[in-house]
Amino acid sequence: MTEPAAAVPAPLAAPRTDLTDGEWHRLHPATPLLRGGIFMVAIIGFIVANLRERLIDLFIGEENYGGDPIDEIYQRGATGWALLIIAGILLVILVAFYLSWRMHTFRVNGEVVEVRSGLVFRSHRKARLDRVQGVNLARPLIPRLFGAARLEITVAGQDGNVQLAYLGSKLADDLRRDILHLASGLRQARQPGTAPDAPGALAAAAQPLPGDSAAPPLIGPPTAHSALGDFATARFNEFRAPELDPDAAPPESIVRIPPGRLIGSVVLSGFTVFLLLAGVGLIISVIAGSSGWVLVAVLPGLIGSAGYYFSRITKTLRFSIAGTTDGVRVGYGLLSTSSQTLPPGRIHAIKVSQPILWRRFGWWQISINTAGQTSGRSSGAVTSTTLLPVGTLADVEKVLQLALPGFDTDAHRALVENGMLGGRKRDAGLADFYSNAPARAVWLRPFSWWRTGWAVSGPVALIRRGVLSRDLILVPLARMQGVRISQGAVRRRLRLASADLHTVAGPVSASLSVIDVEEALVLFEWMSTGAVRSALADTSHHWSRTATPVPATEATE
């Protein structure tokens, strides 16, 4: 708690923040307000609900609000007391907000990110930088309007994330870059005064020190500029271009999703099928003469489904994916934006899939398993495991190149394409790189046996399966946790077995339901030795150290 200058948006000129100096810093002063935003809305809602009759009266003029609390107070002549109580409550809230902001501090050094928070129940969270699974920069709508952002450092395990909510937008961008640099194994060169003019700029921009500030800083985010116009322009620019990242490699997305395709993909989903079936069922039940209660029960659900479509579409609008030096960066969101950086080697499994409704259009989806899941809101979790909401074959290839660096030769591409489209039947003449299930598997997988197969290429295992939803699963062996083969009574009759590659939890399950017995043993051997060898060769936990050893040595003091 030495330097309270943390809450200041860093001047643009500064090459990087000085938040990673290992000292304790504070968050954006509007944090409690933004975090408690919903709470405030609830209180206002409560008050408005109580005043409703009075408001109606104001416009319509009907004398009919006897017994509402405000009237009661007024009649008893207790207005003064009531105002005093309200003022007292406000004061308590303000003080609590201020104190919670004072107590909420974080620090970043070469090893860890730490957050301390809490007034009564203190909590202290630490994340080791070499175990960072991803860095997520989210800007929910309201904080975004205020120019604030939430930086979430994902580590393995349930609910193990370190959240820095909220930071100034620009600051959060810079801090993300710094954290990723530190995590990559590069030692950041620590310049005392970032740039010649930086200390001055910082001082000018500095918040009133908590010691001498009479009023708690609740008025909104501070800016270096005093003029409201500048503030608005800055906000507007941020709003338009949420990914201002001057030196981070190509910020340009490698995939463009036309809005038409996106809307089409959301409409052509299993949910729509379910909805149509429900609608047909409803019509039948009405015709059959059931009473109106069915309609009453179902209608809210129908209205809710419209909300589902809307949120799905707005969430994936403006999707972008790009490769940076610190990993894959995935951004999405129209109103609330989010951008997630996955350092190299943090992807545990990849699934390329195509629901049957998408087949006519040739659309594919890519989802992944990562060790750290974005905590909290389930809506965020859905998107953080989607690497491509909808794309063509070419898009899939581009994204896979990012997700699996080094998996991009022509042969690999053929392997992937074969896994997505191919099968034993179709490619009778062509070379099929997959080891397929035998024909007797038709008893267990009547439709998909001919494309149920597997292959291993270098450090990646591939599983091809499914015909209703065509799936191709890629598992980097260095990340695989274990392999299992099993056989029950039915499969024994058919001389078959099933195989599972264990990965961390997520939407992708790498299992192969039918495989020849002999082949299952081969797979078991290949996978288990491959897992060990790939892990030995893997150096992705400090990805920059091997790539650029020169700056690393020079920078270590």
Binding site: D130, R131, Q133, A156, A371, H412, A414, L415, A431, F433, S435, P438, A455, V456, S457, G458, P459, L477, A478, Q481, G482, V483, R484, I485, S486, Q487, G488, A489, R492, R493, R495, A497, D500, H502, T503, V504, A505, G506, D516, V517, E518, E519, A520, L521, V522, F524, E525, W526, M527, S528, T529, G530, A531, V532, R533, S534, A535, L536, D538, H541
Partner: protein, 185 residues
């Protein structure tokens, strides 16, 4: 083994076409991996007690429903559970004998099951923690269960019925092996 060269990827060509061969083995059996280590024979008792307790609870509940509430379906449920439990008890010794584990150079192998067979391989480096638990019956017999937990969603490897001293030495050995082969997540 796994080779970046794609020509090696084509596995099925390397394998003989199984259809023409004179009936190969239907069972899953890992060839030449070495001698499987078996769990303590006393573990059969733990399983038997567990099955009996289970059967008594379910059958007791079912007969209560049957006698007090006159629910005939409950009787059938009770009978089915009873028959299944008896079959279970008959096969218990064989089932326990089928449990085995093996410490290879770089990974831990585990097998169990006769009707539903399964083999699991977990590289030592993927270990997150090792759990040793003792149930009441197992403790009375001086046995312990050892669980090898990885980051995977599906539970790693769980070896039941080890003598307590064995479980502890195995744990220390596994931790030591994992330390030397540590792989980050």
């Amino acid at each position: 083994m796994p080779d970046p060269d794609l020509t090696d990827v084509n596995l099925p060509a390397a394998l003989p076409p199984t259809a023409d061969l004179p009936e190969p083995s239907k069972r899953l059996e890992l060839a030449d991996v070495g001698e499987w280590k078996r769990v303590s024979p006393k573990y059969v008792l733990v399983e038997i007690v567990g099955t009996i307790v289970n059967a008594v609870v379910v059958c007791g509940g079912a007969s209560l429903l049957w006698l007090l509430l006159d629910a005939t379906w409950a009787m059938w449920v009770g009978i089915v559970v009873l028959v299944l439990s008896i079959i279970n008890l008959i096969f218990e010794p064989r089932r326990v004998r089928s449990i085995g584990y093996l410490l290879r150079a770089d990974d831990l192998l585990f097998r169990r099951g006769i009707l539903f067979q399964r083999f699991v391989a977990v590289p030592y480096g993927r270990m997150q923690l090792i759990d040793i638990t003792r149930g009441p019956v197992a403790r009375w017999l001086g046995l312990a269960d050892l669980k090898f937990v990885t980051a995977a969603a599906t539970a790693g490897v769980s070896i039941p019925g080890l003598a307590e001293a064995d479980a502890e030495s195995l744990r220390d050995r596994l931790v030591e092996l994992a330390e030397s082969r540590r792989a980050g997540l």
